[in-house]
Subunit: 750 residues, 2 copies
């Protein structure tokens, strides 16, 4: 029985280390799943043997559910802590609660039992300017606030980058590109470790509080996957099997989105559509459970202080009318364009950072970006305020008692219950439009430079902000159009009654979805997240239209979303099953060796000696070698991994007596040769006798399909039974790059 | 270049019929997808050649979206018509609108402008009893109504079964088991044809109106798939390629659920989780679009007459408390038990029907079932009323002005705005509990016999009814417990204020989900459908807990849901990728030929003559033959399909001169033999040079994985390059049955 066979107990006899992977290597799904089945069978067989084994069997059966339950609880709790921390730190930038510094503004005011208006602040809460002395002069107060704002930003951002640089270099960025790569079957040790978890959580709070143009939603997915990884080690079934571990990680990423947006269904779909690679249906159900538990725990912690499960609860008084689909689609197109500009700009800048000296001074870069952000954003009310609040403001409908400049319409309300009539925009709205335009340009530019710096950076919130600004502006335009020309036939009479027939807030929501769609190229999951985010079923059709337009426009300029673009930039071995390849090639064209190259490095099943093998191991760096019947016939027997071979040889030398350089290595059950000479080393156990093979005439598309669906590391190419060559994942990725006129050498890992 | 190569133009040279499938055969996904890629490349290449080719290219790129748009519109429209028709027919059972017989009761009363209370009927509408004379005696009126009710039931059911038997035998049943099989890559000609569509739609209206214990939700999925199939023929890209057509069918099934429940997201998840097999992500987005369009169209038609997108809009005044999870989980367990009883009972009955004389008298069976149903259900108010109305009633909360017996509590309302206090159940509630118990038993028994008769029968609504009755009863029990012991610590003080703290309606909803879950074993999609069905986000956690408990309990008694059980019963070749196999076997153990059997029937690449091949074709009925280098070496060259071989031989005889029985058949590019004798027939074009191969040591699990994920019909088994045998889908399915201690001969098709 070999390693790929069915005896679990024999596994224990194998030298340790066999079946594990090195850092930055691709895993072999088929092999890991086979190992898990073997383990599973062993446990089922044992279950009848005694009470302890029975308990072990039950524990094994439940461990998947228990693990995702723990992951969900932990993800919800961590998200709650991060939300509360962020709130407190943000308020710390503006002032302090001298009686109890650990309270944020809202809690401080609650504790004082004062009646206070929202937006205003209560007597218990002191702004820094107030604390340092009462400035009668407003200009002085402004300057002091400005300086303090910039200072706090620098302190927070500096702390964040220092923490990341010192303790956990993997804690920077959004993490989603790497998680996609890891889930597709790649090993990055430490990327989901406990230090990354701790530092990313703290760094996220600091980075968001510093006012940089970034969000905490993407990093929450990373944090959640760290939690998944850590808990998986409690259950050897998952912790010791990289393929099975990825089931937990899929569920964890769903929980991450679930807590980031309060959107459990959207989280599952995000995990399915965007992140996960290998997604059996059992995982779907577990992911849903995990996402729901996480959302439930977060809701019990209730960090937003409102009872709604949703982040931006919206209810528009009017339904949308059919003709509005046109501006919604225009929003989609604009969202696609913004997404494209952002992706191209960001990738160019990241490339520049990689190749220039800039990459050597990450701390300086963060401080400079943070300084620029703080200086520019303070004077503009819409960039100064926290991004989530801005989104909430832009999404909302102008109410009767609304006094914000965005709601400065020439209206006369006689009483609070009167209906909101459509009205001409006042000076406040006009000024707001100017400020919003500036804010949009600023946000777009600064986010291009921000995404990629060495602090935890999320993209969802900045994209939503850009889209919401754009949408609100177009929404106000449409509203004014309807006010000035209410009898236009396109409005189908909906606007002629004088009642407000269009909600600029709805446009902001649609614009936000369009922009996020343009940046990430998410589709179903985005629509579902937006729908869960705002709690409104009615607006699925507008959201869908905009997201669709945005995706098509974006795809016309480049098929890669920001995450795929970053995977590509970093040269990760990620094979996208979504892409289509239209060129023609056969397996024979992309295999190693190419025509006119030296033949493949192979091992014969019984004629090679220990010295021969060691020479091969020394002179090449392949990860595995095909085993053939003989050099003359080239008929394929199996495949052996470099790592297993090295370990088995070392083990044989140590434990088996009389093994010398001339000892033959046998991959067969019995030697057909004479038994003279030193004792042979039998290595049949480490031979994979069922390698996946294809013929040389197989189209490359089929090869890609097999790689994607079966999760292979390599396939062997045969012709009429004879071994011709080998195709590794790297070969396929290089071929894909070549077709895209890109540098095939940019595929870094195998 | 061969058929599996890359020249589209050469495809045209091949004799017609090559690449198509016979009825009741399995499709070859890899081959169909390769054909589509070939076609796609050809169009892209041609696109630059002229304006017409450019337009063709654009049309081709958009045709997928256009097709699902049309499918969505049509599915929505058909669902609307069916809803309206059902409403009218149901009312026809009770009475008629003499002034305008085409109006249903509600419309009739609208047209009269009378003020009328719901539940009551207006002056314009006559019940049959009223129409035939005014009966002063209530007993006579009751008897007349009873007789008419039974009569109409028999007429409707008889009409339905006659239509189905005469015009479209495939229109019976729910259709979901067959659609699952078809989507997994099986051909059943006519199953999704236009006659099935028309007859199933009409039959559905009749069957539902006849009062049989069935719903129209499952059949709507079938109807929707028929629409998808019909529209796919407008686009050769889909109509002529069975693999691509299944992308449209996946989207259509999502649209079916979407219109059945007004649940677009649930529909997509249903398609993903339950129905679809091959679900690339592009399909996810298109399915969502299709489902949304269908829901949008249906909503514009507005057959329910309310503005809500949802069928049973619910809003409970109180949130659920944590301790209620216990009864919810109990509901889940009961739901799982009911599901198990139903599945076992139904399968036993269907087996009996198949083997006994009963199967020969389908019309009689329908009439008898219909008679029994009508006679028993009329006296009980809860079985007499239409199932959807019953569900709505059971789901709802007792309001202030509610006069139904279910809401007969000992309450005193001082005014309509007073809060609803918890109260002791009155006589009406007690009587209702008795009637509901009878209704539950009756529904369970009759549905076991009903599901499988030769009219369109859906399961969703009957399952929901059973679950809702069970839930409501337990809900009332809990409510009375809380009333009598409000200070029990488990209620956490929520019930001690005197306000109503538990909603029996919520229990009904949770019970309905649990029961449907027990019957169908759906998970995520069920929770999402329930959530969209009732429009309440708050109750996801209770729903999830109940569905989870129900699935676990159900799985403990048998892993197959009702649809899988019916697939199994009918012997369809459906390979469930969800099942796990714990036994050990190697490819060598399940391949044909087994050990000690006669060797495999193979074709050599250049030594066989036309006569040899024709003899092989005559003497065997295999669907394809491996091609090898020579009988001595057995090295594999490729695979050729029986159908292609037959066609190509006939074609060669017709078009090529001098072909006689002794002509050699060449599968090589050039003959290595002498060119004496009659001219050789070159058949390299029809040879698949890239068959999927595995070694004999491959575990069966890996083989199953490959079959499921790559959509194969067969794999060839080789050992050290030599052909050993072949494994077809049927071989795998037989092996699986054998493991499950079932009769392997029950796998009927290949």
């Amino acid at each position: 029985m070999d390693l790929y066979g069915f005896s679990w107990s024999e596994m224990d006899e194998l030298p340790p280390g066999i079946g594990q992977y090195d850092d930055f290597h691709t895993i072999d799904w088929q092999r890991d799943i086979a190992r898990d089945r073997m383990r599973h069978r062993y446990i089922i067989k044992k279950r009848t043997e005694g009470i302890w084994d029975f308990v072990r069997g039950i524990h094994d059966a439940w461990s998947g559910w228990l693990c995702v339950l723990l992951v969900g609880v932990a993800a919800g709790a961590v998200a709650g802590v991060i939300d509360i921390g962020t709130q407190w730190m943000k308020d710390l930038k503006e002032g302090v609660c001298p009686q109890a510094f650990w309270l944020n503004q809202e809690q401080c005011c609650w504790s004082s039992n004062d009646t206070f208006n929202e937006g205003d602040h209560c007597a218990q809460w002191y702004t820094w300017a107030e604390l340092f002395g009462h400035f009668r002069d407003d200009a002085w107060a402004f300057i002091i606030s400005y300086i303090l704002y910039v200072m706090w930003s620098l302190v927070f951002a500096g702390l964040a980058v220092l923490l990341v640089r010192t303790f956990a270099p993997y804690a920077c960025g959004s993490g989603i590109p790497e998680i996609k790569t890891i889930l597709s079957g790649f090993i990055i040790r430490g990327y989901l470790g406990k230090w990354t978890l701790v530092i990313k959580s703290i760094g996220m709070i600091l980075a968001v509080s510093s006012g940089l143009s970034l969000g905490k939603e993407g990093p929450l997915v990373h944090v959640s996957c760290c939690i998944g990884n850590i808990f998986s080690y409690l259950f050897p079934k998952y912790g010791k099997n990289e393929a099975k571990k990825r089931e937990i990680l899929s569920a964890a990423s769903a929980a991450g989105v679930s807590v980031a947006f309060g959107a459990p269904i959207g989280g599952v779909l995000f995990s399915l559509e965007e992140v996960s690679y290998y997604f059996p249906l059992k995982t779907l159900w577990r992911s849903f459970f995990c996402a729901l538990v996480a959302a439930f725990i977060l809701r019990s912690i209730n960090p937003f202080g409102n009872d709604h499960l949703v982040m931006f609860y919206m209810e528009y008084s009017r339904n949308w009318i059919f003709v509005e689909l046109i501006p919604f689609i225009i929003l989609g197109i604009l969202g696609g364009l913004i997404g494209t500009i952002f992706i191209k700009g960001n990738i160019m800048w990241c490339n520049y950072r990689k190749q220039s000296l800039l990459g050597k001074y990450p701390i300086t870069e963060v401080l400079v970006i943070s300084l620029i952000t703080a200086i520019i954003s303070f004077p503009n009310i819409y960039t100064r305020m926290n991004s989530s609040d801005l989104i909430k403001l832009l999404f909302s409908q102008c109410g009767v008692a609304d006094i914000s400049p965005l709601c400065d319409y020439n209206r006369n309300f006689t009483n609070v219950n009167s209906r909101i009539e459509i009205a001409e925009a006042g000076a406040g709205v006009h000024r707001s439009l100017g400020l919003l335009t500036l804010a949009l340009i600023f946000k777009l530019c600064i986010t291009i430079f921000t995404f990629g710096i060495k602090v935890p950076t999320g993209l969802f919130i900045p994209s939503l902000v850009m889209g919401a600004i754009m949408g609100r502006m177009i929404g106000i335009g449409m509203e004014q159009l309807a006010y000035h020309y209410p009898y236009l036939w396109v409005f189908q009479g909906a606007c002629s009654t004088g009642e407000n027939c269009l909600s600029p807030g709805l446009y902001a929501m649609v614009g936000a979805a369009a922009c996020l769609g343009g940046v990430t190229r998410m589709t179903v999951s985005l629509v579902v997240i937006m729908f869960e985010l705002t709690g409104s079923v009615k607006y699925i059709v507008p959201l869908m239209a905009a997201v669709m337009a945005s995706k098509w426009v974006g795809d016309a300029f480049g098929r890669r979303g920001i995450y795929d673009a970053h995977i590509n930039l970093n040269g990760y071995p990620y094979m996208d099953s979504k892409e289509e390849y239209i060129y023609t090639a056969l397996a024979a064209d992309i295999m190693t060796p190419r025509r006119n190259e030296s033949p493949l490095c192979v091992i014969t099943q019984e004629t090679m000696t220990v010295d021969d093998i060691e020479n091969i191991l020394k002179s090449t760096d392949h990860n595995g070698f095909p085993v053939i019947v003989s050099q003359e016939s080239q008929y394929l027997v199996g495949f052996v991994l470099r790592k297993d071979l090295t370990l088995a040889l070392a083990n044989a030398k140590k434990t088996q007596e009389g093994v010398v350089g001339e000892s033959h290595i046998l991959f067969t059950a019995h030697s057909s040769q004479s038994s003279l000479g030193p004792p042979a080393v039998k290595l049949r156990k480490i031979l994979d006798m069922a390698p996946i093979t294809i013929t040389d005439q197989t189209p490359v598309e089929t090869v890609i399909d097999m790689f994607c669906k079966l999760g292979l590391r390599q396939v062997l190419v045969i012709h009429n039974g004879r071994l011709l060559g080998i195709i590794t994942k790297k070969d396929v990725l290089r071929h894909i790059k070549q077709l895209g006129n890109e540098d095939p050498e940019s595929v870094l890992f195998n």
